[in-house]
Amino acid sequence: MSDPIIRIDNIVKRYGHLTVLDGLSMEVMPGEKLALIGPSGSGKTTILRILMTLESISGGFIQVEGEQLYHMTKGDRLVPADERHLHKMREKTGMVFQHFNLFPHKCVLDNVTLAPMLTKGIARADAERRAMDLLDMVGLADKAKSMPAQLSGGQKQRVAIARALALSPKIMLFDEVTSALDPELVEEVLNVMRKLAEETDMTMLLVTHEMGFAHDFADRVLFFDHGKIVEEGKPGDIFRHPTQERTQAFLRKIIAAGHRV
């Protein structure tokens, strides 16, 4: 068995007096598909944002592909990472946001090519060729010249996925990527993600409230509560036979609210 691609070691995250993550540890193997579920405010988004270096951490260590994420060695001491180190580490990871966060002033194609051209110095022609492949993959090749404002929510989110993929990250993070969409548009995005999960060996971490999708998609489900992992296991086990009281209560509520598991 290979080494974990992500090793989270006892990290702590505080906002002022509020402790959001309280000594969290976990490991993710290369190629693993992980679903993070749990009640609102339990810290699911926070852990993704920390992996994307959008937040700082208050304590603990994270290794990605065996390298420290928030630290670097100077002589024989570990010191906080500088911008240069973070920049290098960010190459490994991509993220898709709940609200897409497309660049509204650039057409779909430019949204996808901007980062490869700027960060990797890829020539426009090459970047566009690859972008068209990706847009084709998410079923939007014909929208390459549209502006984001002209797309539906589902289309925007598919563009956002293509944009993140354009940098060929090893790890992809998805934070409730369908929860801002009209119910009818959810499916088209989930289809793209299903295809992605099947066809690539990328490592994927997914925060979602779509239990049905989490079930089909994930190799492993982590149930979060109050900044801790309360329960984890194969989706079939967690959803059908949760052992923890909190997990049971949460699933009951979600089901009562009309969601299918």
């Binding site: 270096t53 960010r90 190459e91 946001f97 966060n101 002033h105 502006m147 404002a149």
Partner: protein, 219 residues
């Protein structure tokens, strides 16, 4: 018999000075606004402090005081400016200080989400600013810049108090020479209004161009 056509000609000469002051002042203001506005968002404490000092100083003291200093006090420091230079300097830096806040506000208005998307795509701060933030912030700034340009135009009337022969000053001269108050003042009021209208018309045109294709983005 008063030679009105001649005196109106004098006022038009003043109008030309007013136009020059407005154009050059706006150019200086634009440069100062971006330098100081982005300076205030800098990572470096010293740059922020410098930008803040400039902005607070020029927004804090009155344009009159700034004009009088540029004209009467700077020479004692060995810098003698022509009235036109002094006027452009004071007006440009004054309006630039207000513009700096507009630049800063617009850049900050391009929300956290866009910045985070840039980080997730591994753009550097410079790249994010240049390719993502500023192109979106610019259309937000334009309407206020238009208002600032009109403020600057109106501010040029003040330079008549330091004997720069702008439109208002020429109106004063014509008034002294002809004894008529109504005609010179009514004339320049209309001229100022025309100039202001040209500015706001031009700005609206620019704004339409800059927001083309962005419809619905800020809904």
């Amino acid at each position: 018999m008063i030679d009105w056509s001649g005196y109106i000609g004098l006022i038009l000469e003043g109008a030309w000075v007013t136009v020059q002051l407005t154009l050059m002042g706006s150019a200086l203001a634009l440069v100062a606004a971006f330098a100081a506005g982005l300076g205030r968002l800098s990572r470096f404490m010293a740059v922020r402090a410098l930008a803040t000092t400039y902005i607070e100083f020029f927004r804090g003291t009155s344009i009159f005081v700034q004009l009088f200093w540029a004209y009467f006090v700077l020479p004692f420091a060995g810098i003698t400016l022509t009235p036109l230079q002094a006027g452009v300097l004071a007006l440009g830096l004054n309006v630039g200080a207000y513009g700096a806040e507009v630049v800063r506000g617009a850049v900050k208005a391009i929300g956290r989400e866009q910045r985070e998307a840039c980080i997730a795509l591994n753009l550097t701060r410079r790249q994010a600013m240049r390719h993502v933030i500023l192109p979106q912030a610019l259309p937000l700034m334009l309407p206020t810049f238009g208002n600032n340009a009109i403020e600057l135009l109106k501010g040029t009337a003040v330079v008549s108090l330091i004997s720069l022969t702008d439109m208002t000053f020429q109106a004063q001269v014509v008034r002294a020479q002809t004894g008529s108050t109504l005609i010179p003042f009514a004339t320049i009021l209309v001229l100022y209004f025309i100039m202001a209208s040209v500015i706001s018309f031009g700005m609206r045109w620019l704004e339409r161009r800059a927001t083309r294709g962005l419809d619905g983005v800020r809904a």
